[in-house]
C-alpha cells in the first residue's frame, strides 16, 4: 500500500514482540460500540491513476496566460525567479518541523531571522515576527495587539479596506470582544487603533502620515496594511508613524494557488515587541561563543503561557516566508524598486488609455495610485466576458463587494505588473475598445 512500510511479516514480528496475537489486542481501550471497520471511501489507487485523476481536475480549471492577468484584489501575478521554488522545494526545508531543537534546525532558524530582518527593513519598523497565516489574519492580530495595548474596544477603519480583511477583522472582534467601525468620524477616546490599507483596496493612496497622526492624537495606535512590493518605491509605514505594519506576502514569490497558502507578515515598534503574536527567532550563542539562532521570547506563546499567551499561533507559514526571503534577496533594493516602478508606469499608461475609451472613466481622477486602479465601465460584466473570451483575466468587478456604495457600481479594478508586457496592454485596450463600441452601439452613447 502506498506510503506504508511494513510487510505482513514485519507486522507479525512486532505483534509477537508485544506478546499479543492481533492488532485488536492493542485496541482494547476503545469501547466496542465505537469501533468501525474501515472507511466509506473507495480503495486506494496507484500513483499513476491518482495523478491522472488529479490532473483531470486541474484540467477542469482555466489557466490564464500570466501576461494577460489584469486582476488583483489582493492576489497578483508577478515574475517569480526560478530560485524561489528551487529553494522551497528542498526537502530539508519543506519537510522539517517548527525549529524546536535549535542545534538541528539552524537552517530554518537563520532563514526566519533573515525574514524578520527583511520585513523590518521593508516596512521600516523595528521588529517583525516569523510569519502569520495571511494578510487578513495578520491585520486581525494587529488589531488585537492594539486592543490589549490600549485597553480599548473599538477599531476604526479608514479608507477602503479589502472587504475580506474587514470580514476577518469582524469575525475576530466578535470573539475577542472588539468592534469595527468604518469611517474616521468614529475616532475618539475609545478608539484602540486606526487601521488603513495603503494603497487601499481600490488601489488609491491614503494620507498615511495624517492617519497615524490622528490616531496618536487620540491615544490610539496606527495600523498600516501594506503592499510589500509597493514599498520598493512608496514611503513605508515606519516613515509615516505607524505603530504596527502588516501585509500579505503573496506577491513575494508565491503562486496565486486559488488563494493560498500565502503569508502574512507583522512588524511593529520595539515597544510593542512583547505583544507580538506567533514565533520570533533571536540570535544566541553556544558555550564556544558560536552564533546561532533560536526561538525566543517564548514567554509570549501558547506552549509556555497557555491561557495568558499573546496569541494561539503555533504552526504559521514558515515555508511561504522562506519564499518571500528568497524573492526579496534576489531582488535587492534596486530590483524591488524597478519592479514597483515598472508596475507603476504600466498601470498609469493603461489607465490613461482606458480613460480614453468612450464610455469608460476613472471614478477618482484626483487620487494617486500605484499599479492598481478603478475604472468605471458601463456594463462591466459584459466587458469582462469579452476579455475572458479573448483569454484575458480582466479587472475585478467590485460593485457586488460593496452593496452600500453606489459609486462603485460598474467599477472594476485593474492592475498591472512587470508580467504585463506592452503587447498585453495593447491587446487589453483593443478588446475593451471593441467591446465598448459594441455596447455603445447597442445602448446608445452615454
Amino acid at each position: 500500500m502506498p506510503y506504508l512500510v511494513h510487510s505482513t511479516e514485519d507486522r507479525e514480528a512486532m505483534l509477537e514482540a508485544l506478546g499479543v496475537a492481533t492488532m485488536d489486542d492493542l485496541l482494547v481501550d476503545i469501547p466496542p460500540h465505537l469501533r468501525v471497520d474501515g472507511i466509506d471511501l473507495e480503495p486506494g489507487l496507484s500513483e499513476f491513476e491518482t495523478m491522472a485523476r488529479v490532473r483531470a481536475l486541474a484540467g477542469r480549471n482555466r489557466v490564464f496566460e500570466d501576461r494577460l492577468w489584469f486582476r488583483g484584489g489582493g492576489v497578483y501575478q508577478r515574475f517569480v525567479p526560478a530560485a524561489v521554488s528551487a529553494v522551497t522545494s528542498k526537502p530539508e526545508f519543506y519537510t522539517a518541523y517548527t525549529p524546536y531543537q535549535p542545534e538541528a534546525s539552524q537552517g530554518t532558524l537563520q532563514a526566519i531571522f533573515e525574514f524578520q530582518t527583511l520585513i523590518a527593513e521593508l516596512t521600516a519598523m523595528d521588529v517583525a515576527n516569523a510569519s502569520l497565516y495571511d494578510g487578513a489574519t495578520a491585520l486581525a492580530e494587529a488589531a488585537m495587539m492594539a486592543v490589549v495595548e490600549t485597553g480599548r474596544r473599538h477599531v476604526v477603519v479608514a479608507g477602503c479596506l479589502h472587504p475580506e480583511y474587514a470580514d476577518v477583522l469582524r469575525c475576530y472582534g466578535d470573539g475577542r470582544g472588539f468592534d469595527l467601525r468604518v469611517g474616521l468620524e468614529h475616532v475618539g477616546s475609545d478608539t484602540a487603533a486606526i487601521v488603513y490599507q495603503q494603497p487601499s483596496f481600490l488601489g488609491l493612496l491614503e494620507d498615511a502620515a495624517g492617519l497615524t497622526e490622528l490616531a496618536h492624537r487620540h491615544g490610539a495606535l496606527g495600523i498600516a496594511c501594506v503592499d510589500p512590493i509597493s514599498l520598493g518605491m512608496l514611503a513605508p509605514p515606519g516613515e509615516q508613524g505607524a505603530d504596527i505594519a502588516v501585509g500579505e506576502g503573496q506577491q513575494l514569490g508565491l503562486a496565486a494557488s486559488y488563494g493560498g497558502p500565502h503569508v502574512g507578515f507583522i512588524a511593529c515598534r520595539k515597544e510593542l515587541m512583547r505583544r507580538l503574536p506567533g514565533r520570533l527567532v533571536g540570535e544566541g550563542h553556544d558555550d564556544l561563543g558560536r552564533r546561532g539562532f533560536v526561538l525566543t521570547l517564548t514567554a509570549r506563546e501558547q506552549h509556555i503561557r497557555r491561557a495568558r499567551a499573546t496569541s494561539n499561533i503555533c504552526t504559521n507559514h514558515s515555508l511561504c516566508a522562506l519564499a518571500a526571503s528568497v524573492y526579496l534577496t534576489y531582488m535587492g533594493p534596486d530590483g524591488l524598486r524597478q519592479v514597483a516602478e515598472v508596475s507603476y508606469q504600466r498601470a498609469h499608461a493603461l489607465a490613461e488609455r482606458l480613460a480614453a475609451i468612450p464610455g469608460f472613466e476613472l471614478p477618482f481622477p484626483d487620487r494617486q495610485f500605484l499599479n492598481e486602479f478603478p475604472v468605471r465601465m458601463f456594463h462591466v460584466e459584459h466587458h469582462l466576458a469579452r476579455l475572458r473570451a479573448a483569454g484575458i483575466l480582466g479587472g475585478l468587478p467590485v460593485g457586488p463587494m460593496f452593496p452600500d456604495r453606489p459609486d462603485l457600481e460598474d467599477v472594476a479594478i485593474f492592475c498591472c505588473t512587470e508580467v504585463n508586457d506592452p503587447a498585453a496592454l495593447d491587446l487589453l485596450v483593443e478588446v475593451l475598445t471593441a467591446s465598448a463600441a459594441s455596447v455603445n452601439t447597442r445602448s446608445g452613447a452615454r
Binding site: 506510503y3 512500510v5 511494513h6 508485544l18 492493542l26 481501550d29 469501533r35 468501525v36 474501515g38 472507511i39 466509506d40 480503495p43 486506494g44 496507484s46 491518482t50 490532473r55 481536475l57 477542469r60 480549471n61 515574475f79 530560485a83 530539508e92 519537510t95 517548527t98 535549535p102 542545534e103 537552517g107 524578520q116 497565516y133 489574519t137 480583511y165 470573539g175 520598493g232 516613515e239 496565486a256 494557488s257 486559488y258 488563494g259 493560498g260 497558502p261 520595539k270 527567532v281 553556544d286 552564533r291 533560536v294 501558547q302 491561557a307 499567551a309 496569541s311 494561539n312 504552526t315 511561504c320 528568497v326 534577496t329 515598472v342 499608461a349 494617486q368 475572458r388 483575466l393 506592452p422
Partner: protein, 501 residues
C-alpha cells in the same frame, strides 16, 4: 560549519538582477511626498550566491526526508512527493481566487470531494476547509460554538480544557473571549470525570478534548463524557492532532464530538514546511452547520459553486478559501491511500508506537500503562539521580542523527519524552532508535557530563536561550548590532524549558 547572514555577504555595488523594462509611455510620476526616502537595506547578492546560501542553510536542518523525527503530537510522517507534483500543476497553482466559478470547476470539485472524504473519516456532516492550521481551527470551532450559543440566546463564558491539553487549546479559547477552566487528569492519565462533572455548568460553552489524549491513551469514557457535556447544553470539541490513531478504527463524530478539527499537515501528509503552512479543516454536526465560515462549496447538478449566502455564518476566518495548495496535497494523498490505505496507516501507527514503547521498557520510565495508541509519553526522571534531564536525552539523540521527541510536554508528566513514530518508519529504524536511546541512557549513567556537553558535531552546540531572551536580537541591523543586544554570553542553562508539541 556556520553560514553568514545574507546581509553580511551583501555588496553595495552589486548591480540588481535584470528585470523587464516598462516599455510604455506615460508622464505620471509618484509625488515626492509619497516616495520612500531611504531604500530598505535588503541584501544585494547574485543568484549564484543566493542559491549557495540557502543550500548551506538547508544542510543545517534535520528533516523527515533524512532523519527519523519522532516528535510526539506532531505526526511527522513521510510526505509523498507526488503530492508536491500535484500542488505544482499549473491548473491549481495558476488560479486566481477571484476567477469566475465556471473557470475554476476543478478546484471547487476538489474541495467538495475532499470535504466529503474527510467527513467519512471523522463522522461529521459538513466541513470548512478555511482554517490555516490547528490553532486557527480550534478558534474557528470555538467561534462557531459561541455563535451557536448566542443564537440560542445563551452567553456561555467558559471553556473546559484538560491540564494535559496542548497550549493552543487554552490560548484559542481566550482569543475567542472565553475563560479557561482546567480539568484534571487522573492517575491513569485520562480525564478525571469526577472533576469534569464538578467543572461543568451552564456557563460552559464547550469541552475541548483530544482522543487519544495527549498521553497517547484512548479516553475510554468518552461516550459518558459526551453525555455529561451535552446534558449541560455544552458542545464537545475534538482537537484533531491525534487523529492519526483513528482512521478506519473509530470516528470522533460517533464518540459524540460536535466539532472536529483535522490537521492536514499531520494526519494527511502535507509537509510541515519548517513551521507551516498547514491546513486545519473543521467538521461539524448538523447543529453547527449554519455557523460555518463562508463561503462553503456546494454542488448543484454537477456544477460547483461558492455559497456566500449563509446568514448565520460566523463570517470569514481568513481571506479566500483556505490553504488550497495544501488541500490539493491532502486530496492526492487520500486518493492514493483510499479507505483501505488510511485504515492500515492508523493501525500501523498504533503498532509502531506500541512496539517502540515495548523496546524502551526498562530504558526510560513509562509512567502509564499500555497499550498506547499512536504515541506514548515516557519520562526521563529515572535519570534524575545522574543529573540528566529529558533535555539531555533529546540533545543526545540530535548528536546521533535523530530528531528529538517532544520534551516537557505534556506538563503533567515530569521530564516528559513524548514519542510518536508514525506508520512510515521501518522496523529497522525503530530498532535502531531504541538502541540509540539505550546507548544514551547508558552514557547518562556512565558519564553524564559527556552527555550534557552534547551535541558537539552539529553546526552549533546548546544555545543560551535565557540570554537570548533577556537581550533579544531579532534582526540584523545595517550599522552594527540590534540596540537591545549588549550583554556578554552566559553559559547554557541545561534546564531550559523546552516544552512544545
Amino acid at each position: 560549519m556556520t553560514e553568514p547572514l545574507s546581509f553580511e555577504k551583501s555588496r553595495s555595488a552589486l548591480p540588481p538582477p535584470r528585470l523587464p523594462q516598462a516599455g510604455v509611455q506615460t508622464d505620471a510620476q509618484l509625488p515626492e511626498e509619497h516616495r520612500r526616502r531611504r531604500p530598505p537595506a535588503l541584501p544585494r547578492l547574485s543568484e549564484a550566491e543566493i542559491m549557495r546560501h540557502y543550500s548551506r542553510l538547508a544542510s543545517m536542518n534535520y528533516s523527515i526526508s533524512e532523519q527519523f523525527y519522532p516528535l510526539g503530537s506532531c505526526t511527522m510522517k513521510y510526505n509523498p512527493v507526488a503530492n508536491e507534483e500535484a500542488a505544482r500543476l499549473p491548473g491549481f497553482a495558476g488560479l486566481h481566487p477571484y476567477q469566475d466559478e465556471e473557470t475554476a470547476q476543478g478546484a471547487l470539485e476538489l474541495m467538495w470531494r475532499l470535504e466529503r472524504a474527510l467527513c467519512s473519516v471523522v463522522g461529521v456532516d459538513r466541513i470548512t476547509l478555511q482554517p490555516a492550521a490547528g490553532a486557527h481551527a480550534e478558534w474557528t470551532a470555538l467561534r462557531m460554538i459561541q455563535a451557536y450559543h448566542r443564537a440560542r440566546g445563551e452567553d456561555r463564558t467558559e471553556v473546559i480544557v484538560p491540564d494535559a491539553a496542548h497550549g493552543t487549546n487554552p490560548a484559542s479559547a481566550v482569543l475567542c473571549g472565553f475563560k479557561v477552566v482546567e480539568v484534571r487528569s487522573g492517575a491513569d492519565g485520562r480525564v478525571d470525570t469526577a472533576d469534569l462533572e464538578a467543572k461543568l455548568s451552564n456557563r460552559v460553552a464547550a469541552l475541548m478534548l483530544t482522543n487519544p489524549n495527549t498521553l497517547g491513551l484512548f479516553e475510554r469514557e468518552i461516550a459518558e463524557m459526551a453525555e455529561m457535556v451535552h446534558a449541560t447544553g455544552a458542545k464537545l470539541y475534538y482537537d484533531g492532532a491525534n487523529l492519526n490513531a483513528l482512521m478506519g478504527v473509530c470516528r470522533p463524530g460517533d464518540m459524540g464530538f460536535d466539532a472536529v478539527h483535522l490537521n492536514l499537515h499531520k494526519t494527511f501528509t502535507t509537509p510541515h514546511g519548517g513551521g507551516g503552512p498547514g491546513a486545519g479543516p473543521v467538521g461539524v454536526k448538523t447543529d453547527l452547520v449554519p455557523f460555518l465560515p463562508r463561503p462553503t462549496v456546494e454542488c448543484d447538478d454537477g456544477a460547483f459553486r461558492l455559497d456566500h449566502d449563509r446568514p448565520q455564518s460566523i463570517g470569514r476566518v481568513r481571506s479566500f478559501y483556505g490553504n488550497f495548495g495544501m488541500l490539493v496535497r491532502a486530496f492526492t494523498y487520500v486518493l492514493a491511500m483510499g479507505g483501505d490505505g488510511l485504515t492500515q496507516a492508523s493501525r500501523d501507527a498504533i503498532l509502531a508506537a506500541n512496539y517502540l514503547r515495548h523496546r524502551l521498557e526498562g530504558v526510560l520510565d513509562l509512567p502509564h500503562e499500555g497499550p498506547c495508541m499512536h504515541e506514548f509519553v515516557a519520562s526521563a526522571r529515572n535519570l534524575g539521580p545522574h543529573g540528566i534531564k529529558a533535555l539531555d536525552v533529546a540533545k543526545g539523540l540530535l548528536e546521533r542523527g535523530y530528531y528529538a521527541p517532544t520534551v516537557y510536554f505534556p506538563l503533567i508528566v515530569p521530564e516528559a519524552v513524548m514519542i510518536e513514530p508514525t506508520e512510515t518508519e521501518s522496523r529497522a529504524t525503530l530498532d535502531a532508535f531504541a538502541d540509540t536511546v539505550q546507548a544514551i541512557v547508558e552514557l547518562a549513567r556512565r558519564s553524564p557530563e559527556d552527555l550534557r556537553a552534547e551535541p558537539r558535531s552539529l553546526p552549533v552546540g546548546r544555545l543560551d536561550e535565557v540570554a537570548a531572551a533577556r537581550n533579544p536580537v531579532l534582526r540584523w541591523r545595517p550599522n552594527g548590532r540590534d540596540a537591545t543586544a549588549s550583554s556578554p554570553h552566559e553559559p547554557v542553562r541545561s534546564d531550559t524549558v523546552n516544552d512544545r508539541g
